[in-house]
Amino acid sequence: MPDLKARIEALLFASDQPLRFDRLLSLLEADTESLRNALQQLQHEYYHPGRGIVLQEVAGGFQLRTRPEYAPWVLKLTRSRALRLSRAATETLAVVAYRQPITRAEVEYLRGVDSGGVLRALMEKQLVRCVGKKDVPGRPLLYGTGQKFLELFGLKGLSDLPQLSEFAGDEDLALSMELDFDHAE
């Protein structure tokens, strides 16, 4: 098998854990001797100062890993990785965006969970801001979306925000949702 090495490389790359020798053997339907040779050759090729990855024997299997000396850069990468908005954050943002101005208590009523921490985090990112106080006893703060919100979603203004009913394929559901919403208060 002339491309046995390439196949091993593809498998190791695509695996989320170390691959044992016998697993590789059965996956590639190779014989023990050629697999051992190909693995050694591949390991040798990776073991070269110009490479950023090594082929390591680990936990009884084989795995491709970044070279330890490049850990600082890899860490920089993973730390700066664009984390997705968490589910809680997206939900809270959605409620604020569509129901603004809205108090924290109202957000929590709709979401069914404490939302103070998420609201604060969203305010720090300027996705949500304080837009006033509600004219009821206690004068609770009213929240609305901030400038960054429009930027993040590429909206010209709040009127560009799609309504539930506008998205393709769920006209009936959307209608019942809109009705539910008005009951919430």
Binding site: A10, F13, A14, S15, D16, Q17, T78, R79, S80, A82, L83, R84, L85, S86, R87, A88, A89, T90, E91, L93, A94, V95, A97, Y98, L110, R111, G112, G117, V118, A121, L122, E124, K125, L127, P137, G138, K148, E151, L152, F153, L155, L161, P162, L164, F167, L173, M177, D180, F181, H183, A184
Partner: protein, 261 residues
């Protein structure tokens, strides 16, 4: 039926029409409308014969074809010629078919490209990799891939999880804030201080507790009450201020304040 067509293989009426045109080796720019209409209708009856639902779009196209056919058969009236300058009644259909054919070709070409998770693979998430603490909000918002669709989906989720509004979720307290304030005045009457918990003793019901609490805050705001906490996490005490029982304030409250006091 002399020809066999694998049923259900068409994406829609345009797809079917294109197939018929190609099969009949017709010039797409010069469609024999009578012939193609007959074939099209044959196919629809074939679908019906197989008890397949014929989608509305197929029927609309049948009507369109029949309409074009009738217009090609009629001699053009002089007025038509003036207005349309003899526009071919097939023109729009031909253009739609051409356009459809382009995108169908585009789709076929795309289909042949190596596709992620079908032909090519990227590194999967590593099962042993340690994960950083999941922040509520990403560090760099500009890179965070949240779409408007996801936002709407999130809202849908929130609303879906909500049980249908029942009468009991509507706060319809039998008490007003004024009544809550009267209750507090009564409790504090003649006392140097009263603990926070004591104020609520005998107050049953969530909405009543809320009303009393709001009344408490109102009194604090009016300067008639002070809240004192000696230790962190410790008991909160209410200290009535002289203004609490002043006549002026009582008079300013609801007219029926005498009933309960």
């Amino acid at each position: 039926m002399s020809y066999r067509i694998k049923l259900e293989q068409f994406e829609g009426p345009l797809d079917l029409l294109l197939h018929l045109v190609v099969k009949s080796e017709m010039d797409i720019y010069d469609i024999q409308i009578a012939q193609i209409t007959a074939q099209y209708l044959d196919y629809l009856s074939l679908m019906k014969a197989h008890q397949l639902d014929v989608a509305g779009e197929f029927l609309v196209m049948a009507a369109t074809l029949l309409h074009i056919k009738s217009r090609t058969l009629l001699p053009a009236s002089p007025r038509d010629e003036e207005n349309d300058e003899g526009v071919d009644p097939r023109a729009e259909l031909v253009q739609r078919l051409l356009e459809y054919r382009r995108y169908k070709e585009g789709a076929e070409k795309l289909e042949a490209y190596p596709q992620l998770n079908r032909d090519v693979f990227i590194r999967p998430e590593q099962s042993m990799q340690e994960e950083g603490p999941s922040e509520a909000v990403p560090a760099d918002l500009n890179d965070s891939p949240v779409s408007l669709f996801e936002l709407v989906e999130a809202l849908r989720r929130v609303l879906q999880d909500k049980p249908p509004p029942a009468p009991h979720t509507i706060i319809s307290s039998p008490w007003s804030v004024e009544q809550g304030m009267r209750l507090l005045r009564r409790r504090l009457n003649g006392e140097e201080y009263v603990s926070f918990e004591q104020c609520f003793s005998g107050v049953t019901g969530r909405s009543e507790v809320i009303v009393v609490f709001i009344a408490m805050l109102e009194l604090v705001k009016l300067g008639q009450l002070r809240l004192v906490q000696l230790n962190p996490q410790g008991t909160i005490y209410l200290y009535p201020q002289p203004e609490l029982h002043s006549d002026r304030c009582v008079a300013a409250l609801a007219p029926h304040s005498c009933e309960e006091l």
